[in-house]
Each structure stands twice: as structure tokens, then as C-alpha cells.
Assembly symmetry: C2
Homo-oligomer: 150 residues x 2
Amino acid sequence: MNNDVILGKYFSLFNEIGIIEQLSRAFLEVQLPKGIIAPHFAVLNHLMRVNDGQTPLFLATAFQVPKTTMTHTLSGLSKHGLIEMRPNPKDARSKQVWLTEAGQELRNKTIAALGPYLQQVAEQVSTDELDTIVPILQKLREYMDEARNP
Amino acid sequence: MNNDVILGKYFSLFNEIGIIEQLSRAFLEVQLPKGIIAPHFAVLNHLMRVNDGQTPLFLATAFQVPKTTMTHTLSGLSKHGLIEMRPNPKDARSKQVWLTEAGQELRNKTIAALGPYLQQVAEQVSTDELDTIVPILQKLREYMDEARNP
DNA sequence: CTCCATTAATACGATATCGAACTAAATAGT
DNA sequence: ACTATTTAGTTCGATATCGTATTAATGGAG
């Protein structure tokens, strides 16, 4: 097959992915209280799914954002009482990020609120199709990730 | 299958998509001159693939961004001499966006520069796999798009 | 034709993102 | 043990995003 055709397919892929990302972010954000946006929720969700007590730098790496961005995101979460920053007992330069009750609650309520919408989506894209595309996307993501951090 | 399991799969899907979007944007932006970012390129590419002479409002709708954001993006492109804004002869309130030579050239050079990287990616994800996932993602995107604009 | 609701674009203010520079603490080399 | 380098986090300045309000042109109702 012609090279340009293959490249065209890749452009289509990244184009679809970009649009879906935008749409899914918009859907998430309408569920969130004013002043809380997707990156805030992503951090709450991560601290809950993995574990809290992680350092800001670790979070910045996990989300592939500059540390200054993570500082800003965390200060927003902290100001809204959704997380607590405590000193890191193992390193006086560092901090630990802990979820508050309010933070856990907001995360759970948001997940619950998204349920019905995802149900709707599930009627469009079957579980089989999901099981087909997610592993391929994972492989793609892992490769791109490696290519970025050589 | 359990509902929570299905929802979990959807979260994985949107999670992968979010990360891939971020990585692909980063790859694109390292190819772009300082001061030009992904949204600028997206507009140049759109004007080239579809056609130029479109209005700012039409572009804002196409990219699903607020008009104020598009105004800002276009002013950046204009400042760098990549597009020209002309009055719309059919409506004195409106404008038309035209590519300059420099704009066309930047778009083409960027596409060309991305080629080798996409070649690399193509070694990881086969054309067959692409043909499998792109239509599913299109279907998902179309549904989400409709759900957003009722 | 006149008035008024609608529409296209911009101005402005609030918050977000990110690179460069900075501070303080930890660690490596000698 | 002492100094130089590295590392964690913040501060600061530039630009981006987006909601609200504003201005100017349009188009429809009477």
C-alpha cells in the first residue's frame, strides 16, 4: 500500500482521538462543580484508584505535565478542600498529597453521575468492540510513551 | 457482564485516548516553530484540506471551541503571517480566513516532518489494526457529537 | 421604513499551561 | 567532612482557554 495512504490513516486516527478527547472532557466537566476541571478530577481519581500519599513530582510524571502545572492543579484542589498537602517524612524538600473526605466523595459522586451517560455510549459501541480497540490503543500509547522517554 | 466492569472498560478507553492525545500533541508541537502550537496547526491543516475563505465562526464550530478562543487563535496565526483575514463580501459583520504562502508552506513542511515518526509508529500498529479501530472510533465520535448537539 | 431580536466578531477578566529562574534540601565526588 | 551537583517544589512571566459583556450589521415583524 502507498505510503501516503498509510500516513493518511494515521492522521485520521489521531484526528478522531483528538475530537473524542475534547468531547469526553466536556462531558466530564459538566458533571463537576464550578471551578473544578478535568485535570483536578484526574488527580482525585488517580489518588483513589492507585493510592494517595504520592508526591507532586510523581503525579506530574504520571500525568506527563510540567511540575509547575501540577503545583497549580494541586493548589486548586487544596483550596477547594479536596486534598491535603503534608510534608514528606522521608524528604524535607518534598510533600505528600492526601485525599480529604470531600475529595473522595466528589470523585465517587462524579463517577456515579457519569454512569448513565456511559450506559448510553455502551449502546453504540459494543463490549466486543471495546475489547478490540482498547488493547491496540494501549500498545500505541506504550510505544509513543517510550519514544518520548528514550 | 457486570455493569461496573463495562463502565471500567469505558474509563480505560477514555483514559488511553486522553494520554494518546497528549502524546501526539507533544510530538506535533516539537515540529512547530516557537509560538505556533497545535491549535494553530489544526487550523492551517483544516484550511488546506477543506478550503480557505471560511469564517471564524465556522471554524470555531468545526473545532468545537468558543468563538473567543478562535478569535485568539486566528490573531496568533495572523500575527505570524500564516493567514490573512479579509472582510466577508457577503456580510459586513463577518470575515474570511485565507492562507498565505507562508501558511501553506508551514503546513506542508510540518506534515512532511511528521512522516518519519509516523513510519515508526506504523511498525507498531499494523494497517489492519488501524482499519479495525478507526471506524469504531468514528462511530463513537459521531454519537458523542450528536449527544452534545441535541 | 422602523424597531427589535439575532448574529459575527471582539474586549475583558479569570483561570490554566508551561518554560525559566530560584530556593532549599539531599547526595555525590573527592 | 566539604563542596559541587542534583532534585523537589515554588515563583514569575508569557500565552491559552473560556464565559460574559459589548459593538456593529443583519433580517424579520409590523
